[in-house]
């Protein structure tokens, strides 16, 4: 599961206990039934999320034999190997680049679409549904459709380019076009998500503010810049976290569309961790170490985001 916080607009501070947890209920002691209610979720979370996460740290200090699975302890050797592994650097760089492109682009396009869809527009519901649709499609299917669209020789886009007399693009055999194809296909499935969140935020902006601004003679852009955008702060914050996490952990689409290639031009941390641990090399200790790096970077980013944005969070 790939997610962090609940939406700030609706969710209160997560730690706030519910109203009836105080001493209000006639000094009653705690509900023993709570154990029953909580046990299944706690067991599953501990067994298949928390223990594996701790174990990932442990295994990251091990060399695990590919076939026998025998463990020898090598302390920090796996982390040391990262520093001299060009593919790891490339995957790290590609992941950063992928975040740097997909996050701002999907947020900008999603916001524009949300504003568009929030305005008076005939057939609005149909367009909205079409924009949402790619959201429910699996990453594998998206990647596969992508390979057809971007195929060098028989692809749809190159076919269209030829029939329009435009030059063909080596979407698959050259690094930069391959990376761009990945970003484009990601935007296709991401803008709907961004739009949902922004649309929800837009609907919470009080209409009175726009009316007042209109009376004051504010232009459409001014209304957007000084009313809409600031009030969407919590949505923007939420989307920033979620989109960075999604882009950071991208796997399915890359795996199917480019499989990290050509060479390692589109290798990201997610695909590299998988290939290292379960590919031909089957170096599971090193794979676990890359996994730990992915976890730590996710953690750091989430914490930094929460801390720096705590003030803005209180706007709405």
């Amino acid at each position: 599961m790939t997610t962090a916080p609940t939406l700030p607009v609706t969710a209160g501070p997560p730690a706030t206990p519910s109203r009836d947890t105080g001493r209000l209920r006639h000094g009653r002691r705690w509900d023993r039934a709570a154990v029953l209610f909580l046990l299944p979720s706690l067991l599953l979370a501990i067994g298949f999320l928390i223990v594996p996460m701790i174990a990932a740290f442990v295994y990251s200090a091990a060399r695990i034999a590919p076939l026998s699975g025998r463990v020898t302890w090598v302390q920090l050797a796996n982390y040391g190997a990262m520093f001299t592994d060009p593919t790891f650097y490339r995957a790290l760089l590609n992941t950063a680049l992928f975040i740097g492109l997909t996050v701002p682009l999907s947020m900008a396009v999603g916001l524009a679409l949300a504003v568009l869809m929030n305005s008076v527009l005939p057939g609005r519901r149909i367009v909205r549904t079409i924009i949402y649709l790619p959201l429910v499609i699996s990453g594998v299917a998206v990647g596969l459709i992508g390979t057809f669209l971007f195929n060098d020789t028989i692809g749809v886009f190159n076919g269209l380019a030829t029939s329009l007399g435009l030059p063909n693009v080596s979407w698959q055999s050259r690094g930069l076009p391959a990376f761009i194809s990945l970003v484009l296909i990601t935007l296709w499935i991401r803008v709907g998500f961004t739009m949902i969140i922004y649309l929800a935020g837009l609907q919470a902006v009080p209409v009175e503010l726009y009316e007042a601004a209109q009376v004051e003679g504010a232009s459409g852009w001014q209304r957007f810049r000084f009313i809409t955008f600031p009030l969407l702060g919590p949505s923007t914050f939420f989307l920033l976290i979620m989109n960075v996490i999604y882009s950071f952990q991208v796997f399915d689409t890359v795996f199917v569309l480019t499989n990290g290639g050509p060479g390692s031009a589109t290798e990201v941390l997610g695909t590299y961790a998988y290939k290292t641990a379960f590919g031909p090399a089957r170096d599971q200790g090193y794979g676990a170490a890359i996994g730990v790096v992915i976890f730590l970077l996710t953690l750091i980013f989430t914490v930094v985001q929460w801390r720096t944005n705590r003030n803005r969070d209180e706007v709405a």
Binding site: I137, S138, I197
Partner: protein, 296 residues
């Protein structure tokens, strides 16, 4: 619960009520034209990949060599029958149904139980436990692949559907959705039942749960979507081709058919169609769930 319903008063209002001057009205008509053009272009761009998938799947052709046709020329089911004849696609479809339905049922039950406890019950370490579960949502699948594999393997589950079902049910996003929803249920309802001598279990079953139908709908749809599309972990856990779910089968066929996009798009269509239908039927719940949790 969801943002879309959070402020119904504001959402239901429009900017009418004041007569606009003629100039603004003219400008707004130009604005409307621009918006319509933008909306149409957006819809065409967004629908294009799916349209290509659809027309290719039903084209009956093996490859599209020098014959890229965005406009469908003929209708044929050849591509489907070809794939079905060669590979156990029906089995994969059935596997996907079995795995996602069981996982979804477990996820929903577990989430609703825990959500109720966090929303309405008193117990020690409530806040730390809640934060602990909140933190697990941050754990990326890629980070725990190796230990997860060793744990599931040592439990003897590799080679069975349980290898996917049990870890899949450990998703914690539903707990937060459930808690948030149940916090809104008035305590007075429960207190009245308590005075009548009902215990926590009885209150949960006969008072809280009947009020949770929208929650159950959202949870079910989100869990179904997540499980139906899940790829990375099943890729590792399901090695036997007779156990493949559709995403794994799809990825496997990519290696078999390579550039035979007639076959591949037909399979892709089979894999995405059930969710697309579900989404079209229950869009409101999907959107509510996505807006609240941010789960895709």
């Amino acid at each position: 619960m969801a943002v879309t319903t959070a402020r119904p008063v504001a959402a239901g209002r429009t900017t009418t009520g004041r007569p606009a001057p003629a100039r603004r009205r003219r400008r707004s008509r130009a604005g409307l034209t621009v918006r319509i053009v933008l909306a149409v272009v957006t819809a065409l761009v967004m629908a294009f990949p799916l349209w290509v998938m659809l027309t290719t799947a039903f084209s009956g052709q093996r490859t599209f060599d020098a014959d890229v046709s965005v406009i469908p020329r003929r209708f044929s089911l050849d591509n489907f029958s070809r794939v079905f004849a060669a590979w156990p696609v029906g089995t994969w479809f059935g596997n996907s149904v079995v795995v996602s339905v069981i996982t979804t049922v477990v996820t929903v039950v577990v989430s609703v139980l825990a959500g109720y406890a966090f929303a309405k019950l008193r117990f020690p370490f409530k806040t730390p436990l809640f934060l602990l579960l909140l933190a697990t949502m941050m754990i990326p699948t890629q980070a725990i692949l190796v230990p997860q594999f060793r744990i599931v393997n040592s439990l003897g589950l590799i080679g069975t559907f349980w290898a996917v079902i049990i870890p899949g049910a450990a998703a914690t996003f539903g707990i937060f959705l459930a808690r948030q929803f149940m916090l809104a249920i008035p305590n007075e309802l429960m207190e009245a039942a308590e005075l009548d001598g009902a215990g926590s279990l009885r209150i949960f079953w006969s008072i809280v749960l009947p009020l949770c139908k929208p929650l159950l709908a959202v949870l079910t749809l989100l869990a179904l979507m997540y499980q139906w599309n899940d790829f990375l972990w099943p890729l590792i856990a399901l090695k036997d081709p007779t156990l493949y779910t559709l995403p794994i089968g799809l990825q496997f066929l990519q290696g078999q058919y390579r550039t035979d996009y007639g076959a591949l798009m037909a399979m892709t269509l089979i894999a995405v169609a059930p969710l697309v239908v579900l989404f079209l039927a229950f869009q409101r719940f999907f959107v509510q769930g996505l807006a609240t949790t941010g789960i895709r």
